[in-house]
């Protein structure tokens, strides 16, 4: 049994996510980790913006904050500085965190606030109707790119690494154990930890690109033949089997880990005295 099930707001369930949506799997892993680590969620705050991914926090019975589009990290930074004793987890999507909120993302990483940011990357804007997102791969079809996407996709992990995040990892809905382990590591890390989780949009992205539904779509993540690697030079290597670009050979696992003073430590907030020596 998923021990995290006891942490859900039972009256809100079942959630609104579409049948087979990968977000549900990531949410399941998240609450499993939360239940394992915290006896009570009183000291845990979940902050989300707008989008399918951000709906997830509404179902978890912690301190939850549903904020404006793209600004989840800004709200979370304020919350963390005001209440440094809280564990703040930001749940955001690729449109929310990288599109409209891209600026907030890089600055949260630059400040190295002690937050955990989980980015649900489904390559599209699911809630508003499947429009092109900054993470949509080249040639992919969306409602706004009926002739295929001409743009290149963002690599969120490379972006936040460059911006100064101190823990950067990538996981997949298809591998719940890896995902759980990385969420735990991200929560353990002191500083800005960023987790890019590949999920799937079954209604829009999958339908437009004929990736199938349910288990077929989930299994299509294995097609990407992802490697668990620490070598950043491996990325990006998008390939085009069957004429369709997939998220090929994206390295999984911890991609970057470093240590520098967090914003709380520099500001000498309670519980964040700078380490000696």
């Amino acid at each position: 049994m998923n021990p995290g099930k006891a942490l859900l707001r039972q009256d809100m369930m079942p959630h609104i996510l579409c049948p087979g949506c990968g977000h549900g799997i990531v949410m399941s892993a998240l609450v499993r980790v939360l239940a394992k680590r915290y006896a009570s969620l009183d000291q845990v705050a979940l902050v989300a913006g707008i989008g399918c991914s951000s709906r997830v926090v509404g179902y978890i019975d912690a301190n939850t904050l549903h904020t404006t589009h793209g600004r989840a990290l800004s709200f979370a930074t304020g919350l963390k500085l005001a209440r440094p004793e809280l564990t703040v987890i930001v749940v955001t999507g690729d449109g929310d965190g990288l599109g409209i909120g891209g600026n907030h993302l890089i600055h949260a990483a630059r400040r190295n606030v002690d937050l955990t940011c989980i980015l649900f990357n489904n390559e599209t804007y699911g809630m508003t109707g499947g429009q092109l997102a900054p993470t949509t791969v080249t040639q992919a079809f969306t409602t706004t790119t009926p002739y295929g996407n001409h743009e290149s996709a963002f690599d969120a992990t490379a972006l936040v690494t460059a911006a100064g995040a101190t823990f950067v990892a990538r996981a997949q809905a298809y591998r719940p154990d890896l995902l759980e382990g990385l969420i735990e590591q991200a929560l353990d890390h002191r500083g800005f930890s960023f987790l890019d989780v590949l999920t799937d949009c079954t209604e829009y992205f999958s339908r437009k690109n004929q990736l199938g539904a349910g288990s077929d779509l989930l299994f299509s993540q294995t097609r990407s033949d992802t490697e668990i690697s620490l070598d950043l030079t491996e990325w990006p290597r998008l390939q085009e089997p069957d004429g369709f670009p997939v998220r090929n050979l994206m390295p999984m696992g911890v991609l970057h880990e470093s240590n520098r003073p967090t914003l709380e430590e520099v500001m000498e907030l309670p519980g964040y005295r700078p380490k000696e020596g």
Partner: protein, 291 residues
């Protein structure tokens, strides 16, 4: 039989892929060749990938004509694994003896009934007077590496054979990787003294049935019929019914792997195993217990 240059005998080394059966056969053959004996070796290998049986027949003497051992002509069985050694018992000569490790490696084919975990492991001949069984991996661990268990058994065999310890050690030096040599020489020495060092630890005469109980709980109203569980289940126990809601076809086949639960986006499936549930003493209701 005490003149090492006039001995005529047959040895079988039996075990499971990966245990070093072929290497052990080579070492025995090497020792025999030192004394100028004619050695013939026949092996069955290549099944190592899936925990399959590997055996090495070593025949040595002044003149050996064929590689295969006839029924009743087998002098020593060196069993790296108990059940594999048992396979050779019909060939054992009346004076022959068996050195066997009590280690059990259960072959995948014996695990068909994965739900109950019941395994019929043959222990009938463990009390056979010619069988000398001891916990070789434990001695190997004592020597420094559990992988040296095979050499422990060779050490035990070397007491019965008239070859000198120096020759055995030379053969080991030639065949064992240099970095593991010291451990192996130590393991060989422990094997020679197995009787004093290792009390015979016999496995339980009756294998304990593992009763693994798995409860499946389905929140039908939460299921959206995506079908992920139907296709990820290794035992194919789920199906979608006419209402497009998942249904357990054969819950008794569930092994409790929990894949469906972890990959269900809708929290509809609970796989409850003994480690995750606690039965309430009064009511007998199923409660969740953290860790």
């Amino acid at each position: 039989m005490n003149d090492p240059t006039q001995i005529h005998a047959n040895v079988v080394v039996a075990g499971v892929g990966g245990q070093g059966v072929v290497l052990a056969g080579n070492i025995i053959a090497d020792v025999c060749m030192y004394y100028g004996l004619d050695v013939k070796k026949a092996e069955v290998h290549g099944m190592s990938q899936r925990g399959g049986a590997v055996s090495s027949q070593v025949r040595f003497g002044v003149e050996v004509h064929g590689g295969l051992i006839e029924k009743g002509q087998l002098n020593w069985i060196v069993g790296f694994e108990w059940a594999e050694a048992l396979r050779w018992m019909p060939l054992l000569s009346p004076e022959g003896s068996v050195f066997v490790s009590t280690e059990e490696i259960i072959p995948p084919s014996a695990l068909k009934d994965r739900v109950s975990g019941m395994v019929r492991y043959p222990l009938e001949l463990l009390d056979h007077p010619r069988v000398r069984a001891f916990d070789a991996p434990a001695l190997a661990k004592q020597a420094g590496n559990v992988k040296a268990a095979g050499v422990v058994l060779l050490g035990a065999l070397s007491i019965d054979l008239p070859f000198s310890l120096d020759v055995w050690n030379q053969a080991l030096t030639r065949w064992v990787p240099t970095k593991a040599l010291e451990i192996n020489l130590r393991a060989f020495e422990l094997g020679r003294r197995w009787e004093e060092k290792a009390p015979v630890t016999k496995p339980q005469p009756v294998p304990k049935p593992i009763t693994r109980q798995v409860w499946l709980n389905l929140e039908e109203s939460w299921c959206k019929g995506c079908g992920i569980c139907v296709n990820v289940c290794p035992e194919r126990i789920w199906t979608l019914n006419q209402k497009n809601v998942v249904e357990a076809l054969s819950p008794e086949r569930c092994t409790g792997c929990g894949l469906c639960e972890k990959l269900c986006p809708d929290f509809a499936i609970d796989v409850l195993t003994e480690s995750t549930i606690r039965v309430n003493e009064e009511g007998g209701s199923v409660l969740w217990q953290p860790n």
